[in-house]
């Protein structure tokens, strides 16, 4: 026996193994294909041998060949053989091969079921592991159904290695066999709290993947995930959870409110960029889901934008890219906050990385305003010139058009400029977007009446220079614009200066080389021009011009009659005959102009693209009903056509069952579509009915203002958009000057006694008036159009099947099929499986003896039923929610119209829902639900409970009376405090957390649900100064510091100040000034004196807050210091404006000179060992907060980062802007916290420690 094995292996060693194969292929570079085919022949021989080792070797080589693109499916059976080897080595080769080339239609897969099951239950964990890995790649619905139960058992395996693999593979099983989701879910949920972090991470992974597709089913898990988020330290898990929350918040706004604080804290404390980025992303998602404009969240937005700015400014291109990506999400809801970073984004447009430029382009979309549109577009046009012949240029082109046309051309003040831009764009070679430019030209010319004359002139020039556009056949993308040009010139020919010349241009022989649909438009519009020429010559005694024109038509049109394009041919021959007839009349001196122009009379109205879709179906019309009953098969065929053609057919009717064969129908349909597409009257492909040639009275009523003549109408040659920029500039200046004059006059009248004032505030949006008034005709919509826009989901999405209610209790029928061992029963099981498959998914819990009968019923019926039940259920949930929350309107539950006649639902589910509601609602609400009541009893007194209220109160009318009262009370208190502070001349500038009166208690209230308290909210903004007009909040010394430069004098501190307008008037001309001290100076622009103030770069409408940043230069940072400052501003009412002043004191703590700097533990240890640092320590008594809160506070308020944390001991690190290292060792025991600190600058350390002490003495 042993001899045989040795002999076999000796044979084997002369076979080629994988390495030999690879080597061989590398040595046969010239005839690789031939060499491989001989190898495949060898492999085929090897596979025929009995020796499993030889087979495994062959399969191993096949796997390699598969990677090179060779089909190896013919060896599928041999792969199965190798998989079933008892040796791990071969098994692994077999499974690898299977995972690389098996798929659902591989038929031998069904042979593997038993083998896989055997491997899954193998005592060797690696056999199991390899089987799971392989299965994850080729699982089929059959395998999933047969093995689901085995895998579920493995989820509770003793070895974490198996557990985590089993958990992960369940996702694949769910996808293939959705019925397994409900029975397996409880165990999956259990695994979220598995002691092994790997298993936990796998479970999070699976649930996140599931929830991403059907988020609403997983809302009930939110509290669990919330807990994980606050407790987990694994960044992978955190990222997944945070991403999941991003998907859940749109469904449940209350969740978002709860999330925002812990997320903000994470943003401040984490050093991992990936985590920071995901946090910012989710915060953005939360803010989007919350109704916008909530004042409380402006800080969060600011934080996000600020962090993103740091990312974008980073030298790492990846961070830059992601920063821009996230910025574009903010842009949708909070364009204002992004706009302030316009400089940065414009800068990114010059980046060498195309991905980054594209992202920056996306952002530009939201940056534009009336004021800067021209400037931005000018910049883009420069880029267009530079980016010759790339896809990036096409992208630029579409962006320019997008930007200009957005929200109904809202930002365009001068349409002549826009037309010139469009015309300039036509000079791009080889762009694919000719049709886009064309449709813009059409749209503008049709909808902006005032511009028509100018547009027509430009289009005529275009037509004249058509050879420039069509010179090269490769550039035909752009010739689409001729389509628009021809149509505009024809339709609005009354504005043409010289119609005859244009007509001549349109009938040049070269036109015949254009695509058919453009020629067709040419021909049609030539006829229109012809009509115009005739009319202009009418009454002219000399009729030669008119007759010459007719002759021109007759000479040129035959070219088009010969066109291969049917449309062109048809129109041309029709018009040709018409012109010939007209010529005859002309020779008889008959006046024809009137009649000819009647052919093209009438005004075209723009029609909304969706207009047709929105025409409501008239009552009583069933579009799905047969107009004629389909004939039965037996009926004689000759009778049918009669019945069909005698009746009038309404539009929209379904294609009927007629004699006309399908081909013919398709052809006709195609032809009709073609025709519609080629017909310029079908604007934007919206067919028929709306384009009626009639005098619409509405159009005439709209006053069309005369065009301002200061702008020259005629631009020689092709227009240059640049000159408009200049003109616009001048115009605006003129306007501004006039305005100033007026204002000055006013002011003089009002208070002549006051001193000089500067009026240099930036021009606001409202100040800009369009160059000439344009009435943008809105698109027509049918009367009583339906408002709904339904976007259907992809019906083929495999995740649709996983949209399963997971809160319902399991029914017996849903248990996963367990294969029995007795062969006699085996035949039965597939049938049973089939049954469960059809009946299982959403079978309600209530089951009686009818159950079995029901099972056999039609699948469809069952589904419908379960849907109904679901609906009812939801209805129920909603009711439950109402009970708890007192009928809130924002409860995101689908309204069900079904009457609620069902019996009471299983209590467990409603309890779960109420749990979630309870967890989400910010305060306990008196309720008749027993459960909630008990929890409420456990919760602290209302005073404490209302803690969270100030945060949510303004926009939540739902909160109960008790709560609002108490929160009002709180508010009053707050106000008093503020007043007191003011009286004390704002001596206190320490960290006054404007949230802090909430957080701590909130977590207590949540304590019923969670074991570990979430972090209380924190904010670094403290009140700087306040009066009846304005409130200033300051974030002391942001972390943006310039330390790159000279460490001695290059130290800067950036102070962010939020200005909030509290009064009802407009605040403008704000000026921020600080009295410099020896040590710290406010950085002023060059040329400004040491006592000049800085203008705050924005104005504040009532109720709005905005943030400005000021840079200070600091010399010594070892001591805290105070700076006196003043803010002056003008309060502007409708009729008057007053000058106001507010004093404040800036307090620079030593903490504010620290920058959060991550530090690795080894570097930290080295630092401590170096002996350069001097120590100091402090003890804090009576600190009554969890250790992680404590750490978070230190991190947040004092800019430290945690290096390492072991139980109740942590090392922390931070660095000053001048490069001092500060190391802390924080220990806690029985409410006593001891902090040992080391720093190379003792006085700085002493001050920092004092400040830490102060922070904790305040809370």
């Amino acid at each position: 026996m042993a001899l045989k094995i040795v002999k076999g292996s000796i044979d084997r060693m002369f076979d080629k193994n994988l390495q030999d194969l690879v080597r061989g292929i590398r040595n046969h570079k010239e005839d690789e294909a031939k060499y491989i085919s001989t190898c495949i022949d060898e492999i085929k021989q090897e596979l025929k041998q009995d020796n499993i080792a030889v087979k495994a070797n062959a399969v191993c080589k096949l796997t390699y060949l598969q990677m090179l693109g060779y089909d190896v499916s013919w060896a599928a059976f041999n792969i199965v053989e190798v998989m079933s080897s008892s040796k791990f080595t071969y098994k692994r080769i077999g499974y690898l091969a299977a995972s690389q080339c098996f798929h659902e239609s591989t038929d031998v897969i069904m042979l593997t079921t038993n083998q896989i099951r055997k491997d899954l239950s193998s005592p060797n964990q690696y056999d199991t592991g390899v089987a799971l890995t392989g299965l994850s790649c080729f699982v089929t619905p059959d395998l999933a159904r047969d093995l689901a139960n085995d895998i579920m058992t493995l989820m509770s395996h003793t070895k974490p290695y198996i557990r985590k693999k089993a958990v992960l593979i369940m996702y694949k099983v769910f996808l293939k066999y959705p019925e397994s989701l409900r029975p397996a879910f409880p165990r999956l949920k259990e695994k979220l709290e598995d002691p092994d972090p790997g298993v936990q991470s796998a479970a999070v992974n699976v649930i996140c993947e599931l929830a991403r597709r059907n988020p609403k089913n997983y809302l009930s898990l939110a509290p669990l995930f919330f807990k994980l988020m606050t407790s987990s330290t694994n960044n992978w898990v955190l990222i997944k959870i945070i991403k999941l929350f991003g998907a859940l918040t749109p469904l449940e706004p209350r969740l978002g409110k709860k999330l925002i604080e812990p997320l903000t804290n994470l943003i401040h404390s984490t050093s991992a960029m990936s985590l920071l980025y995901e946090c910012v992303n989710t915060v953005i998602a939360v803010l989007i889901s919350l109704s916008s404009g909530m004042p409380n969240h402006s800080a969060s937005i600011q934080l996000c934008v600020q962090k993103l700015r740091i990312l974008i400014e980073d030298s790492d291109q990846n961070l830059k890219y992601l920063g821009l990506l996230a910025m574009s999400k903010i842009l949708k809801t909070h364009p204002k906050s992004v706009q302030s970073h316009k400089d940065l984004i414009l800068q990114c447009l010059d980046d060498k990385d195309e991905s980054i430029r594209l992202r920056a382009l996306d952002l530009l979309y939201g940056m534009v305003s009336k004021k800067n549109l021209m400037e931005i577009v000018k910049k883009l046009m420069l880029h267009v010139d530079k980016a010759e012949g790339t896809t990036y240029r096409d992208e630029l082109l579409t962006k320019i058009i997008d930007i200009c046309s957005q929200s109904n051309y809202q930002y365009i003040t001068n349409f002549e400029w826009y037309i010139s831009i469009l015309v300039e764009l036509t000079r791009l070679e080889g762009t694919r977007h000719g049709h886009l430019i064309a449709s813009q030209m059409l749209d503008v010319a049709i909808r902006v009446k005032a511009i028509r004359a100018f547009a027509v002139a430009q289009m005529a020039t275009l037509l004249d220079n058509a050879h420039l556009l069509t010179g090269n056949t490769q550039r035909n993308g752009i010739c689409e614009v001729l389509y628009a040009a021809a149509w505009i010139c024809g339709e609005f020919s009354e504005h043409l200066e010289n119609p005859l010349q244009t007509l001549e241009a349109m009938l040049r022989p070269k036109v015949a080389t254009l695509p058919g649909h453009i020629q067709a438009v040419y021909v049609q519009n030539a006829a229109k021009l012809f009509a115009t020429v005739l009319r202009s010559q009418e009454g002219n005694t000399d009729s030669t011009t008119a007759q010459e024109t007719s002759q021109l038509m007759i000479d040129r049109l035959p070219l088009f009659v010969q066109s291969a394009n049917l449309e062109v041919q048809e129109r041309a021959s029709c018009i040709l005959q018409l012109v010939k007839y007209i010529q005859k009349l002309q020779q008889k001196d008959v006046e024809v102009a009137e009649e000819v122009s009647a052919l093209f009379a009438g005004e075209l109205n723009p029609v909304a693209p969706k207009a047709q879709k929105k025409v409501p179906v008239p009552e009583g019309l069933d579009l799905d009903a047969w107009i004629n009953e389909p004939p039965s098969e037996s009926e004689s065929e000759d009778e049918k056509p009669k019945a069909i053609f005698t009746k009038e057919e309404p539009k929209h009717s379904r294609p009927r069952h007629t004699e006309v064969d399908e081909k013919e129908l398709a052809r006709r349909r195609e032809a009709r579509k073609q025709e519609q597409a080629n017909n310029p009257f079908y604007i934007k492909a919206s067919p028929s009915s709306q384009k009626v040639y009639q005098e619409t009275p509405g159009v005439e009523h709209i006053p069309v203002v005369q065009i301002d003549l200061s702008v020259p109408l005629k631009v020689p040659g092709l227009p240059m958009s640049d000159q408009y920029v200049k003109l616009e500039e001048e115009r605006r200046q003129k306007e501004r000057a006039e305005k100033k004059k007026k204002e000055k006059k006013k002011r003089k009248e009002k208070r002549s006694g006051r001193g000089k004032k500067h009026d240099s505030g930036p021009e606001s949006e409202e100040d800009i008036t369009p160059a000439h008034m344009v009435d943008i005709v809105t698109e027509e919509m049918p009367e009583n159009a339906l408002p709904s826009d339904d976007d259907d989901k992809d019906p083929n999405d495999p995740h649709k099947a996983l949209d399963i209610d997971l809160d319902k209790p399991l029914a017996d029928s849903e248990k996963l099929p367990v294969r029995s061992h007795r062969p006699t029963e085996a035949p039965k099981s597939p049938a049973e499986d089939g049954d469960t498959e059809s009946a299982a998914p959403q079978e309600p819990k209530k089951k009686s003896s009818k159950e079995k009968k029901e099972k056999k019923k039609d699948k469809d019926k069952d589904r419908k039923k379960s849907k109904e039940e679901k609906k009812k259920k939801k209805h129920k949930h909603e009711e439950g929610g109402e009970d708890l929350l007192g009928g809130q309107p924002d409860e995101p539950v689908v309204q069900s119209e079904e009457p609620n006649e069902e019996v009471a639902l299983p209590t467990s589910t409603s309890a779960e829902v109420s749990d979630l509601d309870f967890w989400l609602s910010n305060a306990p609400v008196p309720s008749n639900s027993q459960e909630a009541a008990t929890v409420a009893a456990a919760a602290p007194i209302p005073q404490a409970a209302s803690g969270a209220a100030p945060d949510s109160e303004p926009d939540e009318p739902k909160d109960t009376e008790v709560e609002t009262k108490s929160s009002k009370h709180k508010k009053k208190k707050q106000k008093k405090e503020k007043e007191e502070k003011e009286k004390k001349k704002k001596k206190k500038h320490h960290h006054h957390h404007h949230h802090s009166d909430g957080g701590g208690e909130e977590s207590v209230q949540n304590g019923t649900v969670e074991e570990e308290e979430p972090l209380p909210p924190m904010s670094n903004y403290c009140l700087l100064a306040e009066n009846s007009y304005i409130k200033m909040m300051m974030e002391d010394a942001d972390q943006v510091c310039d330390i790159q430069g000279n460490l001695q004098d290059g130290s800067q501190v950036v102070v962010s100040v939020i200005f909030e307008n509290k009064c009802n008037s407009f605040l403008k001309s704000m000026e921020f000034n600080v009295l410099d001290s020896l040590n710290s100076k406010l950085q002023r622009p060059e040329g400004a004196g040491p006592h000049d103030g800085l203008t705050v770069p924005f104005q504040l409408p009532p109720g709005v807050s905005n943030e400005a940043r000021f840079v200070f230069t600091v010399q010594s940072i070892v001591m805290p210091q105070k700076l006196k400052g003043t803010l002056t501003f003008i309060v502007k009412n409708e009729d008057s404006s007053t000058h106001e002043k507010l004093d404040f004191k800036l307090h620079f703590t030593c903490t504010s000179y620290l920058i959060t700097t991550p530090c690795y533990s080894d570097a930290f240890a080295k630092l401590l060992e170096s002996g350069d640092l001097k120590g100091s320590s402090v003890r804090l008594e009576g600190v009554n907060m969890p250790f992680h809160h404590l750490l978070a506070r230190i991190c947040f308020h004092h800019h430290f980062s945690v290096v390492e944390r072991i139980d109740s001991c942590a090392s922390m690190y931070s660095r000053s802007i001048q490069g001092h290292h500060v190391c802390l060792l924080v220990k806690t025991a029985d409410q006593t916290v001891s902090i040992d600190a080391k720093c190379d600058e003792p006085s700085l350390l002493g001050n920092v420690l004092d400040e830490i002490k102060q922070t904790f003495s305040q809370c």
Partner: protein, 193 residues
């Protein structure tokens, strides 16, 4: 979800391809070619994300790649994955390869693609991230290799000897094409635990 993991060299030769969705061999080759085309024309100092790998999935998907000396490591992922996280994962993968092959170079991947697959299987399973801890991955890989050795036992000895002889007279097996910067830590991404 990770849709596919591809490794190819500077000339587009595939060194490993793992698709978590089924495609025909031809499509797979096409995807590799196109991905190479997209990735290879990018400069060294541009960002590591690419949109528009239209062949796999569509708009939801991104290509995230890293370039080490002669090799490109490309992950095609959908929006549920964190971009920076995947970049880290690639780094973990390469570092693991470096440990397992002792100073990995392209030749290791060429001749031992099966081993690379086995290592990858301990990190990513069916398109989902299984393990990110390098030590854990190496432990499991080593344990399996040990098992393989014990199974080969005496019988495997002659084959190993022959293989060693075959490798001996191969001048084409230089080990100096080292992946130079492979052990360099990623600057901005503190690695995951």
């Amino acid at each position: 979800m990770i849709k596919a993991i591809l490794i190819f060299n500077n000339h587009g030769k595939p060194r490993l391809s793992k698709f978590y969705e089924h495609y025909s061999e031809d499509t797979e080759q096409q995807i590799i070619r196109e991905t190479f085309h997209l990735v290879s024309k990018r400069d060294e100092n541009v960002c590591n994300f690419l949109e528009g790998g239209m062949l796999i999935g569509g708009s939801d998907n991104k290509l995230i790649y890293r370039h080490y000396a002669t090799l490109y490591f490309v992950f095609c992922v959908d929006s549920s994955e964190s971009e920076l996280g995947i970049l880290d994962l690639i780094q973990v993968f390469v570092e693991t390869l470096d440990k397992c092959f002792e100073n990995v170079c392209e030749l290791d991947l060429i001749f031992h693609v099966d081993k690379v697959h086995n290592i990858l299987a301990e990190m990513v399973m069916g398109g989902m991230v299984l393990e990110t801890n390098m030590n854990e991955i190496i432990t499991q890989v080593d344990a399996q290799n040990k098992m393989e050795k014990s199974e080969a036992g005496i019988a495997g000895a002659p084959a190993r000897a022959v293989s060693a002889v075959k490798n001996m007279n191969l001048p084409e097996m230089p080990r100096n094409i080292n992946i130079g910067d492979i052990s360099i830590k990623v600057p901005n991404l503190p690695s995951f635990k």
